[in-house]
């Protein structure tokens, strides 16, 4: 039983995907787009967006991703991988061999953590926000996990593939993913051979990448699995085909018979009616709402997407400029993922992601999103599943740490060194200083409260919320600096800040 009111979608299926009328492109709409597509909506971004217009803003957000450079630690681990087998066989005894193996495993983990932290920093930057969030959306479709793959280079390569082909036709992306070493390992394609086809990948391809459950038969999976036999990759990640392990025989998938290849199977899957609505539905879940728009509406979008040869660029443009996306019922009521919460905080407070893993990766785990390690092949469920007493407590703790002065002398020596290195490339601010708070609040309490609310919250609050905040800034306990600090912290911990 729920008391939430369901405002029906008032747009017809056709109207839903028409471009938003220019008159409705206002600051509130711009903030909605910026928060949903990226991590936050800063006033200058909103100003620029209003000046550029809706479509140009979406194009700018999504259409030219910056490359994310391979990290030094991954390069090193890749180099050491070349001699790894030799070093293992050169080991003088069992203990020595175990030591070599252990050290290499540790090196891989350290390189992965370093990559995770560097990526967060990269993704937090406004110019990368929408692209990188899109990459995480695709990661939640094409799920792999470091815990299973255990090779940071392959994880990097997988993410980079999603970045590079993030605007390509979706079938092309699917074909590329079937050759991604991380995916091949995660879903066992690299061990699948003609004599014993492994159905894992074929099943997920239909169920989780292209069609969704119920839109294929068990026989389709069995036959399709035969087409993906013989797929292998080299140590450097290059794909190759082992013809004698590939089943080149006749197969029947979705009623079509022929000597199908893996790519052929993917093309067939995209001829199925379900293909045109599966990804758009996932997009709605990720970007729009827990309540998916009605099937007729999704059909309309799907038909247009299919006509556009499943171009992801087209889909993003159509989706983020549509009247439906800006509907009032979809504003300010999506529960932030831990990443959205964390990176949103970084942007909202003008802070930098610390250049070392401890204060980052542990909170992510506590908040229920073990970074790049989704719990299973389905990825993160999201929505209300993100929130329980433990995860909420972790979110509140994270906010508190960002307002606590850090005594850098007390940091571990490695962390101090990482900080020094990062500062060579520019200032690194780890917590909210008194000066920063004062800059945000140089006015009278009512104005400050309004500014905080408008700046931080995506959800309109009650007049009472506003007056409670104003009153506290005016006459709460402690001196003015303490009051400001407490006010912002409480606001960031309040229920409303978990929504976007």
């Amino acid at each position: 039983m729920t008391t939430a009111t369901r405002t029906p979608v008032r747009l017809s299926p056709r109207q839903a995907w028409e471009p938003l009328p220019p008159l409705q492109w206002n600051a509130s709409a711009a903030r909605h787009l910026l928060r949903r597509a990226g991590w936050n909506a800063s006033p200058d971004q909103v100003r620029t967006a209003l000046r550029d217009g809706n479509e140009a803003t979406v194009r700018k957000l999504f259409l030219q991703p910056s490359p994310f450079p391979l990290t030094e630690a991954i390069k090193q681990v890749d180099e050491d991988r070349l001699t790894y087998r030799q070093r293992v066989s050169d080991a003088v005894d069992v203990d020595d061999r175990r030591r070599v193996q252990r050290e290499f495993r540790q090196q891989n983990t350290a390189a992965f953590q370093d990559y995770a932290v560097k990526w967060l920093d990269f993704a937090s930057r406004p110019e990368n926000a929408a692209h990188e969030k899109w990459v995480t959306f695709l990661q939640n479709i094409f799920v792999v996990s470091f815990d299973r793959v255990r090779n940071p280079s392959q994880i990097f390569q997988h993410h980079d593939l999603l970045r590079e082909k993030g605007n390509a036709p979706y079938p092309e992306l699917c074909k590329a993913v079937s050759r991604s070493p991380a995916m091949m390992q995660y879903l066992d394609i690299n061990r699948s051979q003609a004599s014993a086809p492994n159905e894992n990948f074929a099943r997920e391809l239909f169920e989780l990448f292209i069609l969704g459950e119920g839109n294929y038969t068990e026989n389709d999976i069995k036959e399709a699995a035969r087409a993906f036999t013989g797929y292998r990759y080299r140590a450097n990640g290059d794909f190759y085909m082992v013809n004698r392990q590939h089943d080149g025989g006749r197969k029947t998938v979705f009623g079509h018979t022929g000597n199908l290849t893996g790519d052929g199977v993917i093309d067939l899957a995209f001829q199925q009616p379900a293909a045109s609505v599966f990804l758009p539905t996932e997009m709605c879940r990720f970007y729009l709402s827990d309540e998916i728009p009605p099937p007729e509406h999704l059909d309309d979008l799907g038909r247009a997407w299919r006509r556009a040869n499943y171009s992801l660029e087209f889909l993003k443009l159509r989706f983020f400029t549509s009247r439906l996306f800006y509907e009032r019922r979809y504003r300010g009521n999506l529960i932030k993922s831990p990443m959205q919460f964390h990176l949103g905080l970084m942007r909202d407070l003008n802070l930098n992601v610390p250049p070392y893993p401890r204060p980052i990766l542990t909170p992510y785990r506590q908040m229920g999103q073990n970074l790049f390690n989704p719990p299973n092949v389905r990825g993160w469920v999201g929505g209300q599943v993100w929130i329980n007493s433990t995860t909420l407590s972790a979110r509140r703790s994270l906010v508190t740490t960002l307002f606590q002065e850090i005594n850098e002398d007390r940091l571990n020596a490695d962390d101090q060194a990482a900080l020094r290195a990062a500062r060579e490339h520019g200032p690194v601010t780890l917590y909210v200083t008194r000066e920063r708070l004062r800059q945000m609040a140089d006015s009278d309490p009512g104005v400050i409260a309004n500014r905080f609310i408008n700046y931080f919250l995506a959800t309109p609050v009650t007049a009472e919320y506003r007056s409670v905040l104003t009153e506290f800034i005016q006459s709460g306990p402690g001196n003015r600096d303490e009051r400001l600090r407490t006010a912002v912290m409480a606001l960031l911990q309040s229920a409303e800040y978990h929504l976007c």
């Binding site: 939430a4 433990t390 506290f472 409303e496």
Partner: protein
């Protein structure tokens, strides 16, 4: 200003905006559904409690429990080694750092056990990873997604969902608390109590005020937050109502222990508390900073123990320290020490056997080698789980570890 109602009766009386309807929705706060079970058993008052004290950064065990008779100790540390006359003797061959006077006293009284040279096979020297190993209780080549205390909660703490099973003082939720099932974990923030109270009151008011057009997600968040705030409220009230019974040092660490003592005195159903003291990564000019850290630790622990004794709670509480690793026997060129392996850990409480346990470090090593551990940290965990928390350690640690006989 209006407050959120925090009891069932108060709640039902409130016809206030938004709140009335919440009573009938699926996300009714736990305290409502809980109190519906009027006869639900109260938490027992005499359950055992564990307080974990994390020494973050890697405590130099060799200058904490000093093997002053060991020639190699002096040979490896020409500048940092402590001489016989500078330590508080425990036996003819080992003594505590001078800063540990209060702990030395507790040892004499039989309220302190020292487990020597604790570590694990194939040690990792990364802070992050080694702390993760200690907190998850995993082998060094395995990755566990839950903490050892989280697994204790999973195994032993069903049926008490309204109160926190674990409370950490300080802002970071310890990895040791990560569990598969959902439990109430509570954080008591650092910072002054006055501001904490102010922050709590403000958040409570904001949560009550809420947002326009209550969406399903918004209401759900509001309710989950209300539950957390109800716990906050209890915690704050207890800290006010049960102030320390003895003077504590003015350090943050001691104040945090004082908060824990107040909560225990207030009858919180929590079984595990977690506090942390940082700064042990002493790569350079170690002598002074390490002495200060050990003083902070010892004085804080001793005040905590004295407080518990005065309140007659000491028989209920066991306090244990741990650190991600010890430090290298050989000193470095910056008058400090680098990451090492095993180190001693302290266990404090009135119900202990007291004294020294576990094998001493073996110094028959090369100059830049590390000490091999003699007691696995999971032997200590296992002992605490079985003999103190009265729970089967098997499902928590994954396999059987020999007990250490300190309890």
């Amino acid at each position: 200003m209006k407050k959120i109602p925090f009891t069932r009766r108060e709640f039902l009386r409130t016809g206030g905006r938004g709140l009335g309807m919440l009573a009938f929705c699926q996300y009714a706060p736990l305290f409502l559904t809980q109190s519906a079970l009027a006869g639900a058993p109260k938490a027992e008052k005499d359950r055992t409690i564990l307080v974990m004290v994390q020494l973050a950064g890697g405590n130099d065990g060799l200058n904490t429990l000093v093997p002053f008779q060991e020639p190699n100790y002096h040979a490896f540390r020409p500048n940092l080694a402590l001489k016989e006359e500078d330590v508080l003797k425990v036996t003819d061959s080992v003594g505590l750092h001078q800063s540990c006077q209060p702990l030395h006293q507790l040892l004499g009284d039989g309220k302190l056990s020292i487990i020597q040279n604790v570590g694990y096979p194939n040690p990792n020297r990364s802070h992050f990873r080694s702390m993760e190993i200690w907190e998850t209780g995993s082998d060094s080549d395995r990755y566990a997604r839950t903490g050892w205390l989280g697994r204790f909660f999973d195994n032993a703490c069903q049926g008490a969902p309204d109160g926190p099973v674990g409370i950490h003082v300080g802002n970071e939720v310890p990895q040791a608390f990560l569990s598969d099932k959902t439990h109430v974990i509570h954080g008591v923030g650092g910072g002054g109590r006055r501001q904490q109270q102010a922050a709590h009151d403000l958040l409570q008011q904001l949560t009550g005020a809420g947002h326009e057009r209550g969406s399903n997600n918004g209401t759900f968040l509001q309710h989950t937050l209300m539950n957390a705030l109800a716990t906050d409220e209890r915690v704050q009230t207890m800290m006010r109502r049960y102030p320390a019974s003895v003077p504590y040092p003015r350090t943050n660490f001691a104040q945090n222990l004082s908060s824990i003592s107040s909560l225990i005195a207030g009858g919180m159903e929590t079984r595990v508390y977690f506090a942390s003291l940082g700064g042990f990564d002493t790569h350079s000019n170690q002598a002074t900073s390490h002495a200060n850290l050990l003083r902070t630790l010892s004085e804080g622990l001793a005040a905590f123990q004295a407080d518990l004794e005065k309140r007659n709670l000491d028989s209920q509480v066991l306090t244990m320290t741990f650190s991600e690793f010890g430090r290298r026997p050989i000193e470095n060129d910056s008058a400090g020490t680098d990451h090492g392996t095993a180190a001693p850990l302290f266990v404090m409480g009135s119900q202990l056997k007291g004294g020294l346990y576990g094998g001493a470090p073996d110094f028959n090593i090369e100059r830049n080698q590390d000490i091999a551990f003699s007691t696995d940290f999971r032997q200590v965990y296992g002992t605490v789980i079985e003999r103190w928390l009265d729970c089967d350690a098997g499902p928590i640690l994954g396999r059987k570890f020999d007990a250490v006989d300190f309890i």
